[in-house]
Amino acid sequence: MAGRATLPRWVDIGLIPLINLSLALFVSGIVVLIIGGNPIRAVGLLITGAFGDGQMVPHGEAIGFTLYYTTNYVFTGLAVAVAFHCGLFNIGGEGQAYIGGLGVGLVCLYLDFLPFVLIVPAAIIGAAVFGGAWAFIPAYLQAKRGSHIVITTIMFNFIAAALMVYLMVNLLIRPGQQSPESRAFAEHAVLPAFHEILGAIGIEVARSPVNLSLVWAIVACVFVWLFIWRTRWGYAVRTVGQNTRAAVYGGISPANTIIMAMLIGGAMAGFLGLNAVMGEHHRLLLNFQLGYGFGGIAVALMGRNHPLGVFLAALLFGILTQGGGELAFEMPQITREMVVVIQGLVILFAGALENMFRPRIAAYFLARSERTQAAT
């Protein structure tokens, strides 16, 4: 821990993740080699898949998809990161995002008499309120009853899934159709995609699902940074996270702080609904959140719970998701399970094994800074 304090920031959120990532890609390459593929070609396809090759996949489309996935990971990554600062392991991003999407969907379905400029804030509030509410119950149980948040949040993921299926299959389904989906939202009750916005001002871009939610994701990153490091509430969150007894001694109520941190985390996860439901699918459906909630844990771990780090890690996961999909298209021996293996290796090296190199790198930088101090 002493080493961590003295590490330069760029090493902490830049160099160490980069080393871990390279190692993960190296091991992935070996796996690709074992199953008979060419790892260099695989990495090439992964990258052209994520950024486009200008022929089969236009650049605009590939980058758009990458950024769409990135947006999802930013929201769930922030949901985990905020809770982490309070010493809580929020596994419930999946359920909070699901219910947050429900909030967005209900606003878009039933408040669509509002004009666009009002329905967007209404949907944002809907996402935050529903996502936050879903996080509130586990938070309350943790704060007041001591029920472990890991257990309760993961259980709430299943409750969210059951609730959504009930609502979609019985109440919100458009009658006379197979698929449990609501009717499509009104034209003004959706977030415009970037290719539509750019098309309107005369710039032609290939269509992709990336939409205005990306802007909101950046706003959310700034908000979380301000909240954690520039407000008394954020200070309380960090204090409770690092030492609950000291927080009590300092007059901070851990129970209230835990609930506050989880409410904000749940709201962040809920914003995924803006991107997926209001921005991409334009209707309420099942499983739009699938995998992003858990992906968010890796994103937060990799991003060192710093909003900037979360954004960069989310970008990486966006690249892996989109590039991985294209990889499965182009190389038949790389199945979708293989793509999950590669993503898993990244998570393993970036998350679980992140302390493998840290002591050595820390020792190196410590020695160097001592040298420079001695010289001056």
Partner: protein
Amino acid sequence: MIRALFVTAVAAAVSLPAAFAQEISPAVVFDMGGKFDRSFNEGIYNGIERFREQTGIEYDEFEVTNETQREQALRRMARAGHDIIIAVGFAQAPAVEAVAAEFPDVNFTLIDSVVDLPNVQSVIFKEQEGSFLVGIMAAMASETGSVGFVGGMDIPLIRAFACGYEQGVHWVDPEMEVIQNMTGTTPAAWSDPTRGGELARSQFDRGADVVFAAAGASGLGSLQAAADDGYLSIGVDSNQNHLHPGSVLTSMLKRVDLAAYNAFMDSLEGTWQPGVINLGVAEEGVGVAIDENNWALLTPEMINAVNSATIAIINGEIEVVDYRADNSCPE
């Protein structure tokens, strides 16, 4: 010029059999279960593999892993110059609707849902009719007066299976009890054999002695549980009689393999037509599986009842209610 001729000659020699006037470039987009789900997607896979073996024409494929990829995958396939694309599963309907409109020259065959566009063929099945027939067999095989149903993810499609089954059971004996359980509410419900087995066991404990599992790979656990505990089970989608001979009473067949095979074959022969194809008992799109593995379990009365019900369904004397028509099942 000579080279071009040579290429043509080689192409003609390679494309076996050479009777077909023109090559086609087929593709398939599987849904989230993946092509080896031992059930729905695998049925498609078997159908198009048969096509590949017979014609030597290769196809492109993609397995979708998230909601957003469906549209992306279909667009990608259309752009790659494929002329017939099979979209597997009702969940791809909105994606097909969007992409088919963008590529009017590409033909799409959508399995399990309907999209009304001039270049889309929608193949749907009357699952309720096949389930009705296996319901008859379950009711006649039951000695306890109680039968079970294990469904997959709780969606209208699976409720249609359950509803048809219940109607078939009650056609034999209106007093008979049908115990229903679903394996879950997330897509994981399709791939949880442990849970499928547990639900079947709990139904046996409650008095059922025949269980119909319509739950993808989870249903395999129900079949296993029935075989282990000495009860009867009913398989789904493909013929699962061979899994536990002597315990699997029959299987409710849903011939998605035929639908997929026909989509490619008709395209090759130039007879592919857009529109809705609704496959029921009459079209042999759904039915019961009878083979040497379950022969010993069947009685002549059972076979007679199924045959007469089949005829009655075909000529309209029995109308099996589809749950999806108004999202409700008659009591």
